[in-house]
């Protein structure tokens, strides 16, 4: 037992001190933090404010365009030609020309600018024109804007799950994301660190050090020590990633808190620009919807039993890895170099990939029979069960228990088989064994 600890310590320290580990550990959180920060940052880049001259021949659009910190609109009353010629002198970035014909021919709107105006602004302008034209046409047909507003409805179903006669709100979107994330993480972990175990075994074999080691310690102990050592490296990296990512995100929020707050539209703009009451109502509605949505997400997150999910995740994370790692070790012991592993990798990776491919199906049918069986089979259960766990109603306790029992049994079984292949394989040099020979090694 003491010697397994020596093995674990070497495997751990050796890998943790490797340059690739350190680089990955630092780079990972930076990339993850960038994933959170870059979109926010980009959205907040205060571009130079654009000034757009609006030459409105119809008079419908005098107050249609709303100013923002990105763009301001000013009505001008000169000819299109004069406006475009003196655009620079008057300090405009673009001239928007809305001819009288626009009511019948919406495509007659023209905009000329000194530089390309970008999607966002063009989209905003197009949207506004469309909205105003629609309103105009409606009023021509005798329908009031407010009547239309009353007709329009927005539907959002509040989903509830009946449990023990009580209603519980359901948040399947959050469950979906959590399940996907958990399943993916386990898949990546198994592959990344399982193949590290395999390469470690191949390294010991090709270096010819393995026979020196197994004269001091049993091959099975060596294999187990390596698997556990690598698992600890994986956990360390995982914890460091989460920790560092949190630190980066939190510290950035601390240094620049404004950027990450939800921004309310400035009231002054609404009040001063003489918007109609209905516009203000509309804006408020939008605000309310987005607020209630974010509240719902918050409520949903609060509702999810994170501690339970985390515990289950850790279990499947560790045992899923252990189940596969011993098989990876056995493959490593059977070959002399990385290139020869392909043939044996296939049968091991097929169930893993199957589990990954089925994720989408499982997330959409977390309680179906396929999901149930895939979460019972030890080779797919770590990924599939992890995808099912966050959903409401929760997976039955007996299902989780049975799945875990199967997984532990599967782990003991594969490790036992792998140990038998391993102890023979590490001492075989030269010839690549056939699958048939591997079975002989297991039996013998």
């Amino acid at each position: 037992m003491k010697k397994i600890l020596i093995i674990i310590r070497r495997e751990y320290l050796y890998r943790v001190q490797k340059k690739s580990f350190i680089i990955m550990t630092i780079l990972g959180p930076i990339l993850m933090a960038a994933l959170f920060i870059v979109p926010v940052y980009l959205a907040n880049i205060s571009d130079q404010q654009k000034r757009i001259a609006v030459l409105d021949e119809t008079g419908l659009f005098q107050s249609a365009f709303k100013n923002s910190d990105k763009v301001t609109f000013e009505n001008i009353y000169v000819s299109y030609q004069a406006a475009t010629e003196n655009m620079e002198a008057m300090g405009y970035d673009a001239v928007l020309y809305i001819p009288e014909t626009v009511v019948n021919n919406p495509n007659s709107v023209k905009m000329s600018s000194r530089k390309d105006m970008g999607f966002a602004i063009v989209g905003l302008i197009e949207g506004t024109i469309k909205q105003e034209l629609e309103a105009h046409r409606l009023s021509l047909s005798g329908i009031d804007k407010n009547v239309l507003k009353d007709i329009k409805v927005s539907v959002k179903i509040n989903k509830y799950i009946m449990r023990d006669g009580e209603e519980e709100q359901s948040f399947s979107e959050i469950s979906y994301v959590l399940g996907l994330l958990g399943g993916l993480l386990i898949y990546i972990f198994i592959f990344l660190y399982g193949s590290q175990v395999m390469r470690g075994v191949i390294e010991e074999k090709t270096n010819r050090i393995v026979e020196v080691i197994v004269s001091s310690i049993k091959p099975f102990q060596l294999m187990l020590g390596k698997i556990i050592g690598v698992a600890l490296v994986g956990l360390t990296q995982f914890v460091l990633w989460i920790g560092l990512t949190t630190i980066i995100v939190v510290s950035l929020q601390h240094f620049n808190p404004e950027m990450y707050k939800y921004k309310e539209p400035p009231k002054a703009v609404i009040e001063n620009k003489g918007l109609s009451q209905s516009d203000i109502d509309q804006q408020k509605d939008v605000l309310e919807i987005s607020q209630s949505k974010s509240n719902q997400i918050l409520e949903g997150i609060a509702h999810i039993q994170f501690v339970n999910i985390l515990l289950v995740f850790l279990f499947y994370f560790i045992f899923g890895y252990l189940l596969y790692a011993s098989m990876f070790a056995a493959i490593g012991s059977a070959v002399d170099n990385d290139a020869d592993t392909q043939q044996f990798m296939l049968p091991v990776t097929v169930p893993l990939i199957l589990a990954l491919v089925s994720l989408n199906f499982v997330l959409n049918n977390p309680d179906g029979p396929v999901s149930f069986w895939l979460s019972m089979i030890p080779f797919t259960s770590p990924i599939v069960m992890m995808a099912r766990i966050p959903f409401n109603p929760p997976v039955q306790l007996w299902e989780v228990g049975l799945s875990m029992t199967f997984l532990i049994a599967g782990f003991i079984f594969t490790t036992w088989i792998a140990g038998r292949v391993y102890r023979t394989g590490i001492l075989m040099y030269g010839k690549k064994p056939t699958i048939k020979e591997l079975f002989k090694w297991i039996k013998y």
Partner: protein
């Protein structure tokens, strides 16, 4: 006193017998040579002694105690397929492997330092194995084999891959270890090293021990009464007087000197030969021609008789 014993050890792999009822006895503080052609089963026996694999049947004892896992700490093993972690520092991995043999880190450190000093390689401590030449790595490997001061040392083909200088060093170290009390088993094809080093041998062929015992006794057993004589002032040399004693060959007469080889028949002794030869002149050399271990090895394995010419 017997240090290590293997009794009727058999081992078969999926498709062949590796060892068939093999028994060996290794005396304490002796050097035991395990000889045999490739594939005879030497490495299998050595791996069984090291408990890397188990025998199908048979018993093994160290000082009369059945071999068990704690014995591994008292055995030093230099395998035929040997090497070290290429990317790990010399000192680090020596410490690691020493700890796996059950000695504490501080103890291992002190012992390794003194071995490194002995070989004059202290400044390799922080180098990686991949930075060292093959010969240098072999020195490190040897130190790792003996650092825990085991009382049984097992070398599988120790001289293969060693350059002559390192091979000589290894030979001297093996003798020194023996003098300090270690018992040594080694397998080899190198017959000259067998004669130089070994006290006892076992010759394994096709998974069976076909010859074993003390090196000198075996050679005596395989000597078949062949002698070489040189005689000065052999004026009265007479071939016919030697004829009743045995078969004469390789007769050379030059400048009044004469030399010949004679294979005595069953009724004659070396003393008869001397008495007869004394009449021919002055005997300047009288030597029994012993077979070399190499000859015995080849004749036992191939089944051919040892040729007279090969003796010296």
């Amino acid at each position: 006193m017997i240090y290590f014993e293997a009794e009727n050890v058999s081992k078969s792999f999926a498709n062949h017998y590796a060892l068939d009822n093999v028994s060996i006895h290794v005396r304490e503080q002796s050097i035991f040579g395990l000889l045999g052609p490739n594939g005879a089963g030497k490495t299998t026996l050595i791996r069984i002694i090291n408990q890397i694999i188990g025998p199908d049947s048979g018993k093994l004892y160290i000082k009369g105690v059945p071999l068990s896992s704690y014995h591994t700490e008292d055995i030093g093993y230099l395998p035929e397929e040997r090497g070290l972690y290429k990317k790990m520092k010399v000192g680090e991995q020596a410490l690691y492997l020493a700890q796996l043999k059950g000695i504490s880190k501080s103890d291992a450190y002190a012992r390794l330092k003194s071995w490194f000093e002995k070989f004059g390689i202290e400044d390799w401590w922080n180098k990686r194995i991949e930075e060292l030449s093959k010969g240098m790595a072999q020195k490190v490997q040897f130190i790792i084999t003996v650092v825990h001061a085991p009382s049984l040392l097992i070398f599988d083909e120790p001289f293969s891959g060693f350059d002559p200088i390192n091979a000589e060093m290894l030979k001297n170290e093996i003798l020194e270890l023996k003098n300090k009390g270690a018992t040594i088993i080694f397998s080899t094809h190198n017959m000259s090293s067998v004669e130089e080093l070994c006290d006892d041998i076992a010759l394994i062929n096709k998974s069976k021990v076909i010859l074993s015992g003390n090196v000198h006794e075996i050679k005596r057993q395989y000597s078949s009464n062949i002698y070489q004589l040189k005689i000065r002032e052999a004026d009265s040399f007479d071939e016919s007087k030697l004829a009743p004693l045995g078969i004469l060959s390789d007769l050379e007469r030059k400048d009044n000197c004469c030399s010949f080889i004679i294979e005595l028949n069953e009724h004659s002794t070396s003393n008869d030969l001397l008495k007869t030869s004394m009449d021919f002149g002055y005997i300047s050399s009288f030597e029994e021609l012993m077979p070399s271990m190499n000859d015995i090895f080849i004749s036992k394995v191939t089944g051919n008789k040892i040729h007279k010419k090969n003796r010296k």
